[in-house]
Amino acid sequence: MNEKGGNRQRPSPASQTSGGKVNRRGLLRVLGLAAFGLAPLPVLPRVLQAALGGAPTARADAAAARTPDGRIRQWTMIIDLRSCDGCQSVGKPPQCTAACIEGHFAPEPMEWIQVFEAELPGDGTQFIPAPCQQCQNPPCVNVCPVGATFSTPEGTVLIDQNRCIGCRICMAACPYDRRFFNWGTAPVPPEAYLADYSAEHQVPVKKGTVMKCDFCPDMARAGTLPYCVQGCPRDAIYYGDLEEDIATNGRAIVAASRFLSQNQAYRLKEDLKTKPRVYYISGHGEAVGRDPFTRGRQATRWPWTERAKGARVWKR
C-alpha cells in the first residue's frame, strides 16, 4: 500500500529540520525570475497594440482650436430657456433635434440633443433641450475600461467607436441619460456608410458601440455653428468659447461670462460636481410668447424612409 504512492508518508520530526529550506541562492533566484517576469508588464500593452495594429490612443483627429494668441478654445453651450418653446409655435418637432439627426445621421431613436418637458411649480412646464453636458469631471470617462471615451483639450467628451467594447458602464455612469447604444444594425440611410469616420462626427454608426452628442468641434473649427444651434428657430442656443469669452446664437454675439452671470445661469445637477460645459438660463419660453400651461411637443421624427440593409428600429 505504501509503495504504491498516492499515500502519505509523513515527515518524521528528524527529516523536518533538514532540507527543503529556503537558502539565499534559492531566494535570489526566485526574486530574479520574478523581476524578469514582471519587467515587461509596463510595455506589454504597447507591444500588443503594435502587434495587433491598433491605434495607440483614442484622440480627436484634428488639432485643438486656438484663439489668435494661441490659447486652446474651450467650447461651451448656453441654452436660453426663455426662448425655448419646444417648437410649439413653429408647429414642428423640436428643430434642434431634427437638425442634429439630419446632420449626424443619428439613428432612430437617438436624440443626442433631446427636448425634455419638465414640471414647474404650479403645474406648468418648461422645455429643456439637453445635449451631452460635456462634463469637466466626466463620470463616463472615469469608468471607461478601454479609454474609448475621453476628454479633449477643448473640454469636450468624445467616443472612439473603433475602440468601444460595448460594456455600457458609461451609460450606467452618466447622470444625464445622454448616452445611446447601437443595439443593432442602425436604421440610417445607406449613404451614411460612405462617410469617413471620425470621433468628432461619428458617421457611419458602428453596431455594438455607444454614441452621444459630440459638441460638433469640427464644425466650430471650420467656423460653422453646430447643427442644433443652426436649427433652432428661436435662437435659444448659444455656442462659443469660454477662453475668448464669446458666444453666439447665430444672430447676437454675447460675452459669455457676463451673459451667464447677468442671467443667473445654472447647470443641470450642479450638486453632482460633474462641472458641465452646458449652461441654462431659466425660463419656459416666455420670450417667444409661450404659456407655461401649454403642454406637449411634437414627437421627434427620423426623416429617412430608406434604411441601411438589415436595419432594425428599436425604442429607447
Binding site: N2, G6, N7, R10, S12, Q16, V143, A148, K207
Partner: protein, 466 residues
C-alpha cells in the same frame, strides 16, 4: 501506511485498512462506473447548452437588439447572472480556506466539491461579461488599452487573479489524490486518463520532502485566497457603486455583496453536496452533520443579510433624498415588490427558520432552505441591477425591461454549463479529498480502538494545511 504504523493491534489495523479501502473505493467509484442516467443527463445539458449557443449566435448576428435591454435599462439578465455566478464562487473559498485556517476537521469530505464550484462558477461568470458586451470581438482591448481607473478593469484583474488562485488552490491539495488515481487506476482505465493523472500527479511519491512542500504551498494558498476572494466581490459591487446612481450609491455595497456571495455560495454547496451524495453514495462521508453545520452557516449569513438590508434601507429611507422615494416605491410596493418580498421573506427569513427549527433541521429541510436562498440571491441581483437602472435621471417616463427568449436561453445555458462542468469534473477528478479525510479519520481515532497512538504522526502536517 496505516499498516506499518499500527502493526500492534490486529483488529484495529483491519478496521483502519478496510475503512481506508472503503474511502478509496468511494473516491474511485465515479470514474470506474458510469450509469446510463449519466449519459442522459449529459445529453440533456448539452442540449440546453446547444440551444443557448444558438440563441447567442442570433445575438451575435443581430446585435444586442434581440435582448430586452435598451438605453435606459442597459444591463439585465446577463449582468445579474454574472454577479450571481461570481457570488457562488465564494463557496469554495469560504468552506475550504476559512475552515482550513480555522482547522475545522469536519470540512474534509466537502472541500473538494466546494473548490470545484469555485472554479466552475468563475468560468461561467466570466463568460457572462463577454456575452453582455456589444463588441465581444474587441474583448482584447481590455488588455491592450486597459485603464486601471475603471471598475471594469478592477474586475478583470480580480476575477483572473481569483481564477488563477482557485485553480492552484484546487490543484494543490488534489496532487496526492491524483497520484492515488494514477496508481490505483493504471491499466484499468483509458490511456488518456492514465496519462492525465500521471501528468497532473507531478511525480508525487508521497515522500516527506513532498509532504512538507505541499503543506507549505497549501498554507500559503489558503491564506492568500481569502483576501483575493473578498476583493473579488467587493470590486464586482463597485461596478455599480462607482456610478452616480442613487440606489447604488452605498458604502455598504462591497461588504453586502461579499456577504451575499458567501450566503449563496454556501447554499450552492449544500445543493451540489446533496446531489453528489445521492448519486455517488457518499452517505458515509457526507453526513447530516455536514448539512447541519453548513445550515448554521447559512442561517448566520442570512442574519447578516437581513442586517445589511436594514442598515442600507433605513439610512437612505429615513431621509428619502432625491429619487430614493421613487426607488423605494418601485422596490417595496411597485413592480419589483413581489421579487423583493420573495427575496426578503422567502430567501432570508424562511431559510433561517427552516434551519433553526428542530423539525426541519434535517437534510431535506436544509436543502430546501438552500434552494430558496439561491433563487432569492439571483432575484436580489436582478432587482439591484434592473431597479437601480430604472430610476429616471431626467424628466422622462420610467422605462421597463423584460428579458427576451435569447436572454433566458443564454442564461439557462450558463447554468447548464455550470452543471455540466461539475458533472464532467466529478468523472475525471477525485471527488473526495481522500488523504485529508483519512487524516481526519485518524485524528478522530478509530472507533474500534480509540488510542492516542496516531497522534504523533499528525503533528508533522499540522502546519501543512490540515
Amino acid at each position: 501506511m496505516a499498516v506499518d504504523r499500527a502493526g500492534e493491534g490486529g483488529a484495529r489495523v483491519e478496521a483502519v485498512v478496510s475503512r481506508r479501502e472503503r474511502l478509496e473505493r468511494a473516491a474511485l467509484a465515479p470514474i470506474l462506473q458510469t450509469s446510463r442516467a449519466y449519459f442522459v443527463w449529459v445529453a440533456f445539458l448539452l442540449l440546453v447548452i446547444g440551444w443557448g449557443i444558438y440563441a447567442y449566435s442570433v445575438q451575435l448576428r443581430e446585435g444586442l437588439v434581440v435582448t430586452g435591454m435598451r438605453d435606459r435599462i442597459s444591463w439585465g439578465l446577463y449582468i445579474t447572472t454574472f454577479v450571481f455566478f461570481i457570488g457562488i464562487s465564494h463557496a469554495g473559498t469560504l468552506i475550504s480556506a476559512i475552515l482550513r485556517v480555522s482547522q475545522a476537521g469536519w470540512r474534509t469530505p466537502i472541500t473538494r466539491m466546494a473548490e470545484f464550484i469555485t472554479t466552475v462558477a468563475l468560468i461561467c461568470g466570466a463568460l457572462f461579461v463577454i456575452i453582455d458586451l456589444g463588441r465581444p470581438d474587441r474583448v482584447l482591448n481590455v488588455v491592450i488599452y486597459g485603464r486601471w481607473q475603471s471598475p471594469i478593469i478592477w474586475d478583470v484583474l480580480a476575477i483572473t487573479t481569483y481564477l488563477t488562485a482557485s485553480i492552484a488552490y484546487l490543484f494543490l491539495p488534489m496532487i496526492p489524490d491524483l497520484a492515488l488515481f494514477r496508481d490505483r487506476l493504471a491499466g484499468r482505465v483509458a490511456t488518456w486518463r492514465t496519462r492525465l493523472y500521471g501528468l497532473l500527479a507531478v511525480r508525487w511519491e508521497g515522500n516527506s520532502t513532498q509532504w512538507r512542500a505541499i503543506g507549505a504551498a497549501i498554507t500559503v494558498a489558503m491564506i492568500l485566497i481569502i483576501p483575493i476572494a473578498v476583493s473579488v466581490h467587493t470590486v464586482v459591487s463597485w461596478i455599480f457603486a462607482m456610478t452616480l446612481r442613487e440606489p447604488w450609491n452605498s458604502t455598504i455595497f462591497g461588504a453586502f455583496f461579499v456577504a451575499g456571495a458567501i450566503f449563496s455560495g454556501v447554499a450552492t454547496l449544500i445543493i451540489v453536496m446533496a446531489i453528489l451524495r445521492k448519486v455517488y453514495h457518499l452517505e458515509e462521508y457526507i453526513t447530516e452533520k455536514h448539512f447541519r453545520y453548513l445550515g448554521y452557516l447559512l442561517a448566520a449569513f442570512g442574519l447578516i443579510m437581513i442586517y445589511g438590508n436594514l442598515s442600507e434601507f433605513i439610512t437612505t429611507g429615513y431621509k428619502l433624498e432625491g429619487e430614493e422615494e421613487f426607488h423605494f416605491r418601485q422596490l417595496f410596493l411597485g413592480q419589483f415588490a413581489g421579487l423583493y418580498w420573495y427575496y426578503f421573506l422567502g430567501g432570508l427569513v424562511a431559510p433561517g427558520v427552516l434551519v433553526l427549527l428542530p423539525w426541519t433541521r434535517n437534510i431535506w429541510g436544509i436543502v430546501a432552505a438552500s434552494v430558496l436562498v439561491d433563487v432569492a440571491m439571483w432575484v436580489e441581483r436582478y432587482f439591484i441591477v434592473v431597479a437601480g437602472l430604472r430610476v429616471p435621471l431626467m424628466p422622462y417616463e420610467p422605462s421597463s425591461y423584460a428579458p427576451t427568449w435569447v436572454e433566458w436561453s443564454v442564461m439557462l445555458a450558463g447554468f447548464a454549463l455550470f452543471a455540466l462542468l461539475i458533472t464532467v469534473f466529478v468523472k475525471v477528478f477525485p471527488i473526495l479529498a481522500v488523504w485529508e479525510i483519512a487524516e481526519e479519520q485518524e485524528r478522530e481515532g478509530s472507533p474500534v480502538a480509540r488510542r492516542p497512538a496516531t497522534e504523533p504522526a499528525l503533528a508533522g502536517v499540522e502546519g501543512g494545511g490540515s
